[in-house]
Symmetry: C2
Subunit: 96 residues, 2 copies
């Protein structure tokens, strides 16, 4: 029995397609209510934000929207510590 | 009497200092409860997101936090239409 299910993490790069990431975010929010998006560097952060803006449109037809809280997080990549931006994303009901 | 006060907008560039923008965002949220942040291009978007992450730390001592909703917005700059990313930022009470 999993009392504290882990939040699914999506890692976005500067080459990620915003529409594809948006679809993944929307799917996670519909099924799990929350998601985390990690991005390192300006290009990746830009793609992540675009994806979140697009995901809001995908959710709108379901009467849903999302809210985001950005934070810094340290990631270990190939034995090197990098500071990433992490977006905690949660589902909310769209106001009628 | 202003029934619908306009939301203050901060325009962030790739050269904006995240700490300074964070201070401005925190001040607007404390006094007005909301703010908008506009950014055009990956470098500016990256600085804006860093600023929002930092602002959360500034607000924490006041028992406050922020939530963000990103969207695309068209801006007229020097007679040229550019697509910017707009962050609608709202103040929330930090959970005890």
């Amino acid at each position: 029995m999993e009392l504290f299910p882990s939040v699914e993490t999506l890692r976005v790069s500067g080459k990620s397609r915003p529409n594809a990431v948006a679809g993944a975010v929307a799917a996670l929010l519909r099924t799990q209510g929350q998601a985390e998006v990690h991005a390192i560097g300006p290009a990746a952060v830009n793609q992540a934000v675009k994806a979140l803006a697009i995901a809001r449109g995908y959710l709108e037809g379901d009467g849903l929207d999302l809210i985001v809280q950005p934070a810094f997080v340290k990631l270990d990549l190939a034995d090197e510590e990098r500071t990433a931006l992490m977006f905690s994303v949660r589902k909310i009901q769209l106001k009628a």
